[in-house]
Symmetry: C2
Subunit: 195 residues, 2 copies
DNA sequence: TACATTTGATAACAAATGTTATCGCCAGCC
DNA sequence: GGCTGGCGATAACATTTGTTATCAAATGTA
């Protein structure tokens, strides 16, 4: 199961052994807070089973930024990297089986891992991709209506529709849950007409 | 003037000589298209004088993504790097004095420049920062009202308010120019009351 | 100077979206 | 089986924001 990670980071056997020896397992129920907003992120999580949302609070309103599922890597990168208070929090949506590595361990490991030729390049590539993803997501916020954003989500991440409660999806799309209901019934009515 | 660049990239004298010999000067009037949406970006620009906006079209509507001013570096990074059609266009707002380096020249130069110890690290850092900036900008779109976004802009980038026509600012804030007018007059009325 | 163009403000109306409240459904739990 | 809490749909109403049109001021240019 975790072998995914080995390939993701292009590690050879001995590096993988080193790396995986630092991984710790964590089983938590739904609605567990993994990182509090304002806290300093000290762990990177890998999801074996379950799903997680990244969120933050604003005027008492709970806003969802992103969803993560099986085999994905989650961390509050800026906080983790800089040791600064995290702008966002993280919590489980479903009961989760997670693995994590602590910043402490990773810092010890990095000099060794960096000997891998090309690892740094891979990392830069990864950063690029993350950046491009954020940009596209941002674009869609500027140019698309809530209806279009919802349809995009159905197309591109149907797993979110299937597994995430609707009010989280609404806050992810930047609208109220009532309005998301409206959009859905609007779509249903449209489909009934056209068929 | 251009010496800024030398320090920005931490180049030594000989590298700077090499690099600057590839820079070409370009003077253009206001409203000049530097990169068409859909075109492949082949140049990175450095602004000596003037300002530039990054934009894209959607359903005939012209949407502004970012503004750049003196001593800033502009490119459609994803397109430049991947050789893919650019998702966004670039045009001058004011008459501009620019310097640019072509992708062709930069590719020739990079092997030489990469010998600089730490340059790659600096570049990764730069990517990180860009990414964090995008994330914060994105956050503000989710959590702030147009009024708050406008006030943030006044605080954080007053130069935009001073030099950019209002309808571009409106499209940057994600609202219509009429609504930005409303917000402004609303602020004026509030200030009159409180003083 | 005079003209055209760009820019910004405002009003009136339309559409989109939020808020609050209510109801029903369903899963989990005793 | 019956209760409870979480979730989602819907209605009614309030607020925000967009659209279109018009005018005035500022700016650039012949």
């Amino acid at each position: 199961m975790l072998e995914q990670l080995k390939h993701k980071f292009h590690l050879n056997d001995s590096q993988w052994e080193l790396f995986s020896s630092c991984l710790k397992k964590l089983k938590v129920p739904a609605k567990t807070t993994l990182l509090q907003e304002g806290e300093i992120a000290k762990r990177i999580f890998f999801i074996e089973k379950g799903c997680i949302r990244v969120l933050f609070n604003h005027d008492g309103r709970d806003l969802t930024l992103q969803f993560f599922f099986e085999n994905e890597t989650v961390a509050s990168m800026e906080s983790f990297k800089k040791g600064a208070p995290s702008l966002m929090g993280m919590e489980t949506i479903e009961p989760c089986t997670l693995w994590f590595i602590s910043k402490h361990d990773l810092d010890l490991l990095l000099p060794e891992l960096e000997k891998v030729s090309g690892l740094r390049n891979k990392f830069t590539e990864y950063l690029f991709e993350r950046m491009f993803l954020y940009m596209r997501h941002f674009f869609s916020f500027i140019k698309d209506s809530p209806l279009e954003r919802y349809q995009n989500l159905i197309q591109e991440k149907p797993i979110v529709i299937q597994r995430v409660p609707q009010h989280y999806i609404a806050s992810y799309l930047g609208i109220s849950s009532v309005h998301l209901s409206r959009i859905k019934s609007q779509l249903v009515r449209k489909n009934m007409k056209s068929s």
